[in-house]
């Protein structure tokens, strides 16, 4: 080859500088704060305080009440994050919720409200994160006295099953 690409670039100074600048931007830009790297800007926010790392996946929880759902239901903010560069399995249906009253004398299992059967075993995309808002319903009666909710996360993935984490408990915010 009598004239290679390198020669073709270098034979013109402005062309060479142009490509050098463009390529430097391509390499340097990702290193700038807020531009590259995963920003993790969805959570933890002030709502999602209780977090549990389960291998690649990290889950965050906050529970409160909301005027858009029935009075007896609770609203769960479920933070989902994958710290790894590969997809992480996650089954939100395997989360088990139990509500407690102020002195922990009364407990009540809570079920996820999912009328369209949207929540299925899936995989969290690599280095991804989000927050889902889910309605939690008691099987019957009122939850007016429930002040905290504990979440069993041990079945959401094979990694979680191996780690056998203790339940995550969060206070119900007003």
């Amino acid at each position: 080859m009598d004239h290679g690409l390198l020669w073709w670039v270098l034979m013109d100074r402005s062309r060479a500088w142009g490509f050098a600048l463009a390529w430097s931007m391509a390499v340097v830009l990702p290193a700038c704060p807020g531009v590259a790297a995963t920003p993790w800007d969805h959570w933890p926010d002030e709502r999602v305080r209780a977090v549990r790392r389960l291998g690649c996946a990290e889950l965050g929880f906050a529970v409160g009440r909301d005027s858009r759902i029935p009075d007896r239901s609770l609203l769960l903010d479920l933070g989902v994050r994958n710290h790894c560069v590969r997809p992480a399995p996650f089954d939100a249906n395997a989360l088990q919720f139990v509500g407690y009253d102020a002195n922990r004398g009364t407990s009540c299992p809570l079920t996820i409200y999912d009328p369209r059967d949207e929540i299925r075993p899936t995989q969290i995309d690599a280095e991804n994160e989000s927050v889902e808002r889910i309605r939690l319903d008691p099987p019957g009666g009122s939850l007016a006295t429930i002040t905290s909710v504990c979440v069993d996360t041990s079945r959401v993935s094979p990694e979680a099953a191996q780690a056998a984490p203790a339940p995550v408990c969060v206070e119900v915010s007003p």
Binding site: M1, D2, H3, G4, L5, W7, W8, V9, R15, F19, A22, W23, M25, A26, V27, L29, P30, V35, A36, A37, T38, D66, R68, I69, L75, V80, N82, V85, R86, P87, A92, I112, Y113, D114, P115, R116, E118, I119, R120, T122, Q123, I124, D125, A126, E127, N128, E129, S130, E132, R133, I134, R135
Partner: protein, 248 residues
């Protein structure tokens, strides 16, 4: 088809291509008004829509900035005269220059077929300033003009393989292009409608899990001794790291 109308048609084509590529998310944004962020109450989104992988195809959409050199030797060139119907066809080496160059942009869209193998299509435009030695076509002297006198388009199909290397990735692909373009001059000009088979190599940097910045170069397989293509590109990917971060 002369230079001006061809370029106009190309710009229209690229616009239509862009509109098509971007239409579905825009239509979704316009056509669906989200009423809630609670699962079961949402109208436009579903649980996991922002982060779940299942069922999400590995698609990429990119914008390339390219400088191309089109070697003329061995390529058929058509000369035309503005004031008449006279034309002439001859080998590009008779133009007295080694190559014509264009700089432009190309939109490309593609997806993974299986594993690291992907395919796609591209559409773009190129502009340039080129000169050729004056010559006569039926007593009309054709000379190249100054300024931006070259306009053309690029239609391409590609097939490639991506090698994931962490925050970098290496791609090797074959790009088959149809690159009709014209160089206008005083009294007329010359046009080429070459097909180009171009092996390319590209180095990608993952700026974010969904965005790559790349440097690429290619060689015209039919003219391997000539410089061909060099460019930079920015590409959006539906799947983080196209679904694979490393080889292992």
């Amino acid at each position: 088809v002369r230079n001006g109308s061809r370029l106009g048609a190309t710009v229209l084509g690229v616009s239509a291509f862009l509109a098509l590529a971007l239409s579905s998310p825009m239509a979704r944004a316009r056509g669906c008004h989200e009423v809630s962020d609670i699962v079961g109450y949402e109208h436009c989104t579903r649980f996991g829509g922002q982060w779940a992988v299942d069922g999400l195809p590995r698609i990429f959409v990119g914008l390339e900035l390219i400088h191309s050199e089109m070697a003329l030797r061995g390529r058929s060139v058509d000369a035309y005269v503005t004031s008449g119907t006279s034309t002439a066809t001859f080998d590009g080496s008779a133009l007295g220059v080694r190559s014509f160059s264009t700089t432009g942009g190309k939109v490309r869209i593609g997806g993974y077929l299986f594993g690291p193998l992907y395919a796609g299509v591209g559409l773009g435009v190129g502009l340039g300033t080129n000169r050729f030695e004056s010559f006569q076509v039926n007593r009309t002297l054709l000379t190249s003009s100054g300024g931006i006198n070259t306009g053309g388009e690029v239609w391409s199909g590609l097939l490639g393989v991506r090698v994931p290397l962490g925050r970098l990735s290496l791609r090797v692909e074959g790009d088959v292009s149809w690159v009709p373009f014209c160089v206008s001059g005083a009294n007329g000009g010359v046009c080429l409608t070459p097909g180009v088979l171009e092996p390319r190599a590209a180095l990608d940097v993952w700026a974010t899990p969904h965005l790559t910045m790349s440097l690429f170069g290619g060689i015209d397989a039919l003219h391997p001794n000539e410089p061909s293509t060099l460019g930079i590109s920015m590409e959006f990917h539906t799947r983080s790291f196209d679904g694979a971060f490393a080889l292992w």
